[in-house]
Amino acid sequence: MPDRAVIRAALWIGLYLLLVAAPLLVLLTGRVPAGSGFWWDFSMALGFAGMAMLGVQFALTARFRRAAAPFGIDIIYRFHRYAALVALALVLAHFLVIRIDNVAALGAIDPRQAPWYMTAGRVALVLFFLVVVTSLWRKPLRIEYDRWRLWHALAATTAFLAAVGHIEGVGHYINAPWKRVLWTAYTLSWVGLIVYVRLVKPWRMLSRPWQVTEVRPERGNAWTLALAPVGHAGLRFAPGQFGWLTLDDSPFHVREHPFSFSSAADSGRVEFTIKALGDFTRTVKDVQPGTRAYLDGPYGVFGTDRYPDAPGFVFIAGGVGIAPMMSMLRTAAARGDHRPFVLICGNNRWDDVIFREEINTLRGRLDLKVVHVLADPPPDWTGEHGWVDSALLDRHLPVNRRNLEYFLCGPGPMTDTTQRGLRSLGVPLARIHFELFNMV
């Protein structure tokens, strides 16, 4: 990462820590109510800290390009996931400390007897818990992705508002008018973000529609979807980046899915190559040309353009993970990039190798070495088979392997094996790039 990016990253991390700590620091300033016992006050402070972290959660998934740029948006989502666990632990601890230390203060659980603000707190706690559980175990719980997204946004917002109500209702620490105003503004600004992401942004996307111009079948049960802008200039992306695609639906319905661009960056073409793997991707083959589409992007820091001084690149792709690599290779070919490229292409069967023919053609236009690795090779196969491990990498990587930039895109286990293999060959971690797409 360049130095300026490191500084920018550090600033954003500092801002995050400040936002988490801010409510507690505000509580400690001005006239503070007298102490009410160590555990009581500890519990209350944990509640406020948990709320601060939960508030920032809304900002983390608002896809602010500027904030995401130094890290990559995939890692911001990963951050969102881990931070949710810590925040949930804090608000649970807030409840448990009182539950253990002073159960009488919690009053009746029955909402008909309990004051509304205590019920609001309980509802918030249960909802936060359910939001985390349904996110960590969406697939085992068989919750469809689109439904999950809708539920996630609605439940998280409801939980947050209920928790704000709980704090306002109890109202002890925010007794001073200015503290009340500050706290209310602070919390509601996070909810304002939801309005921005779910209403303002889709509304802006409505005025920038796209149209499907072509649906091309590829090898390996994949399809390439070509899009053209309707009444606007389109978008410029860097090779390796991705966008959130909404097909044949209103952008307000939050039925968007992230896909890597597979077309060359400077070509003016916007294409995605999508393998039929999930509920949505299985329907891509039935999309008709002329279908309306919306696009939020580009996003991502996975790409050769971030390393203009690199002496060469190694791409290691598994299955449809070839899509961003194709974008980078096509772009390099169009730009006349003379640097050496190595493409290690992992697939189950020879017939499944997406872009097999075009990769072969690209060899003539680039200094490109291609290594196909098959898990299930045909009987007459003389090439590589099995895993992309350190032995295989050692056989094919050039001697200056430690100075090259590595891009990995494929199934999780493959990325893990490859990453370990590269590390054992002495490739510095900072030169190994991959995106964590499997978010929920």
Binding site: Y16, A21, A45, I75, A104, A105, H172, I432
Partner: protein
């Protein structure tokens, strides 16, 4: 590597939050970590015992503590020493001079207790009148 950094930063945020919470609790309660007033076994009249049941049933511990049980913001230990029966009645129902002394939020909550029967209020007053500092409850 990026994911490791994420874990480190998130964990650091969690630790920072807990440390700040501890600092807050410690600053608010210097030298009194975890101390609490012990409950003393006191002989109670039948009326006061009924009052105690009403006190619990009406959710009074949400805002008040007796012998450390309940919300420690507004302890009632020794309230029997400080207030006469009529004053106690005013404080329970937010009537008389008390109505102007209480924060609005509290007054609204207390107005609900006007639905209680006269005998129930009497029982509550009897229970609270019996809360003496000498019983082991500290006067705040």
């Amino acid at each position: 590597m990026r994911e490791t950094w994420v874990r480190i930063i998130v964990a650091a945020s969690g630790v920072l939050a807990v440390l700040l919470a501890l600092a807050f609790a410690w600053l608010q309660n210097p030298g009194a970590a975890g101390q609490r007033v012990g409950a003393a076994a006191v002989e109670m009249s039948a009326l006061a015992l009924t009052g105690r049941k009403i006190y619990q049933a009406e959710g009074c511990p949400l805002c008040h503590a007796i012998a450390g049980e309940g919300n420690p913001r507004y302890p009632l230990d020794g309230v029997g020493d400080r207030l006469e029966a009529l004053e106690l009645r005013d404080w329970i129902l937010a009537t008389g001079a008390v109505a102007t002394l209480l924060p609005r939020r509290a007054a609204i909550m207390k107005e609900d207790y006007r639905d209680l029967g006269a005998d129930e209020i009497d029982a509550l007053v009897a229970y609270l009148s019996g809360l003496r500092a000498s019983d082991g409850g500290a006067t705040p």
